[in-house]
Symmetry: C2
Subunit: 220 residues, 2 copies
Amino acid sequence: MNAISHSEENYLKTVFHLGADGKQAVATNAIARSMKTKPSSVTDMMQRLGEKGLVNYRKYRGVSLTEAGKRAALSIIRKHRLWEVFLVEKLNFSWDEVHDVAEQLEHIKSEKLVDLLDQHLGFPQYDPHGDPIPGKDGNYPSREKQLLSQLPVNTKGICIGVKDSSASFLKYLDKNRISLGDKIHILEREDFDNSLLVTVADTEMRVSHQIAANLYLKIL
Amino acid sequence: MNAISHSEENYLKTVFHLGADGKQAVATNAIARSMKTKPSSVTDMMQRLGEKGLVNYRKYRGVSLTEAGKRAALSIIRKHRLWEVFLVEKLNFSWDEVHDVAEQLEHIKSEKLVDLLDQHLGFPQYDPHGDPIPGKDGNYPSREKQLLSQLPVNTKGICIGVKDSSASFLKYLDKNRISLGDKIHILEREDFDNSLLVTVADTEMRVSHQIAANLYLKIL
DNA sequence: AAATAAATTTAGACAAATCTAAAAATATGT
DNA sequence: ACATATTTTTAGATTTGTCTAAATTTATTT
């Protein structure tokens, strides 16, 4: 019944994200790269998490989350995303500034705090980047969504999320007046550089492949 | 220019409180007792904080805060108290439940977060226990206040704070309908047990010395 | 003022989380 | 399939924050 440490929580979260939301096994190196730490540190930690029953660890074979590990990861992600909503909706942070602060807030331990925060925010379903917020009970709503870059010409959809939520990408979207909820219509694809001509909320513009490969649409 | 660690912040805060708001030197043992740690751990930490220029440490002579240490302590206390206001005002925590959560939240590092939180709360001057909130610039407003137990019969005042902010004391106050802002009139003192007969918001009641020694009044 | 008590510090150990360097296992290419 | 490259693990060291036990300093008492 040992508590999960700050650091352990970060590893669990990473394993969850890298392993397609806890479904696949993840390589040691991938975790190290993603967390900017060394593979040897990852090995140490995975052995510890294995002993705690939070991951399935087999030497040289990578790790996957156990049910307990998945539950723990979802709880952290839930907190992270609720705090992001708070920062944007209540404190007027912009969506490109919330990540680092939420990264700290997600580790605060108090079930009551999370419940009351959820209520205060009106039980939001999505965070400011369009990612779904796991439920208190651990259910994780997945929505059908597709990358703009993978859709055929003439598709119409609603922009519902971003794949990359780095500050630089989000600022780029702001500058180009692309927001979640906007209606997007794909007019043509340029074979040369894979850029797209689209309308975003009825404004025509050209978006690079880089951009299109990081925007999620719900097809209409 | 080393950052101040979570643990170092807790020690600074304790030295501030035990040393009459950073004015007096504090003994090693007092710190250990207050933090439920061992004197040897305190010595270690005080030597480290001394090297960082946050406390004046002289072997066997106790420690006091330097100006830099005082500034750091006030910044943590400011965050603690702002978060307490948030928890009570925005999330509907009761005043006896906020301490442990605020103890965690006070360590979140983001100047922007603190500024926007302060604004969101309407720049509050006092926390839910009546303690003043240090300013962004480090100024620490002290208010004239006196313990109910130390005032003569017939004094009238407003209840403006508590000395002990333990959950059990605060719950006791709730149960007896004593709140911050209430007008208190001292009717008589019982020599036998030092209890007082008072009116609290026009309701007559008897309060024990224990209670009176933990309630701060502003004399009218 | 010497003896005793109390407070404080030092020395050495430990756990967590990390690192570097070297060894071992797995994967890849021709 | 064998040599080479890549990935992963182990071994040993480091830092932070803590502890216990012993030594030292300061305070108190008679």
